[in-house]
C-alpha cells in the first residue's frame, strides 16, 4: 500500500486467495483511520479474474472506506474482467470505478472539490464533472 498525498493506493496481488482478500479489507480500513487519508484507490490491474467473492470484498471495502469518511474508487479493471463480471451479474453497483490510477486520482480530486470533505458516493467511470 502506498500513500500519495491524501490518497492511499492499495494494489491487489494476482494470487489473491479469500483470506488475503479479507486481510486487504481490514488493512485498508486501518490505514485510512491511522493516516487520515481523504481517498483510497483499490488497484486491481494485476487481477486476471474477479469472482463473486472478490467482488463482494471489493464492494465491502469500498463501503467501509465510505463509512469512515473517505472517498474510494476501484481502478485498473481489465476489459475481460469487466466483461465477465457483467455476465456474472455483478457490475460492482454503487462503487466508483476508473480506468487507471491517474483517472482514479482525478475522480477523487473531482469528488472532493464537488462535494467537499464530508464525501458522497462517486459516479461512474471517468472524472466527475
Amino acid at each position: 500500500m502506498v500513500r500519495t498525498g491524501q490518497v492511499l493506493i492499495a494494489t491487489l496481488g494476482d494470487e489473491l486467495d479469500d483470506q488475503s482478500a479479507l486481510g486487504m479489507l481490514s488493512d485498508v480500513a486501518d490505514r485510512v483511520a491511522r493516516d487520515r487519508v481523504q481517498g483510497v484507490l483499490l488497484d486491481i490491474s494485476a487481477l486476471e479474474i474477479v469472482d463473486s467473492f472478490i467482488c463482494k470484498v471489493l464492494g465491502d471495502t469500498a463501503a467501509v472506506v465510505k463509512v469512515l469518511g473517505a472517498q474510494v474508487a476501484v481502478v485498473g479493471m481489465r476489459p475481460v474482467v469487466a466483461i465477465t463480471l457483467v455476465e456474472l451479474g455483478l457490475p460492482l453497483t454503487g462503487v466508483a470505478t476508473a480506468l487507471t490510477v491517474d483517472h482514479g486520482l482525478a475522480l477523487l480530486a473531482g469528488s472532493a472539490a464537488a462535494v467537499g470533505p464530508t464525501g458522497r458516493e462517486g459516479g461512474g467511470p471517468g472524472p466527475r464533472r
Binding site: 479474474i49 466483461i83 465477465t84 456474472l88
Partner: protein, 147 residues
C-alpha cells in the same frame, strides 16, 4: 473417482486428465492456475479463458466451503472437430436438497452458494449438477473453444 491428496496435481499422460485436490482456500487459487494453464495451452481466446477460470473459481470455492472439500478433474475434450475443456467438481458433502431451486436466479442457500452456481452457469456452455442430500455434489461444466 481417484482422490488426489495434499494439494497434489496429477497428470495422466498426454491425454492429460488432471486432478486437483480442493481442501482449503489456497487450493482455489491452485485450481484457477490449472484451468488457466490448460486454456492457454489449448489456445482459448482471452475472454473465454477468463470466463472459464472465473467459473472454476466459483465452483472450486463451493466444493471447499459447502462440500467440505473434494476434487476438481480437468480434461481436454473433442467433439465433432471442436476442442473444449471439461471440468468436474466433486465432493462428498451434505449435498443439495432442492437442486432446481439451487439453480434459480437469485436464490441462495444462505451461504452464498446460489450466486456461485447460477453465476458460473452463465459463464460456461454446458453445465450439469448432480446432487442429493447425503450423496455429495458433482458439478460438470464444458466450455468450447471459439472458431
Amino acid at each position: 473417482m481417484d482422490q488426489a491428496r495434499d494439494g497434489d496435481v496429477r497428470r495422466d499422460g498426454p491425454g492429460d486428465v488432471q486432478v486437483v485436490a480442493l481442501a482449503a482456500d489456497g487450493d482455489v487459487v491452485r485450481a484457477r492456475h490449472a484451468v488457466r494453464d490448460l486454456a492457454v495451452r489449448l489456445a482459448f481466446d482471452l475472454v473465454t479463458q477468463t470466463k472459464l477460470v472465473t467459473a472454476a473459481s466459483e465452483l472450486a470455492r463451493n466444493t471447499v466451503l459447502h462440500g467440505g472439500g473434494g476434487t476438481m478433474t480437468l480434461e481436454p475434450v473433442q467433439d465433432a472437430g471442436r476442442t473444449g475443456i471439461r471440468i468436474t467438481f466433486a465432493d462428498e458433502g451434505p449435498g443439495i436438497a432442492q437442486v432446481d431451486k439451487a439453480l434459480t436466479e437469485g436464490w441462495s442457500s444462505g451461504g452464498g452458494m446460489g450466486l456461485g452456481l447460477t453465476g458460473s452457469r452463465r459463464l460456461v456452455h454446458e453445465f450439469s449438477l448432480d446432487s442429493a442430500p447425503g450423496r455429495g455434489t458433482t458439478v460438470t461444466v464444458v466450455v468450447w473453444r471459439r472458431g
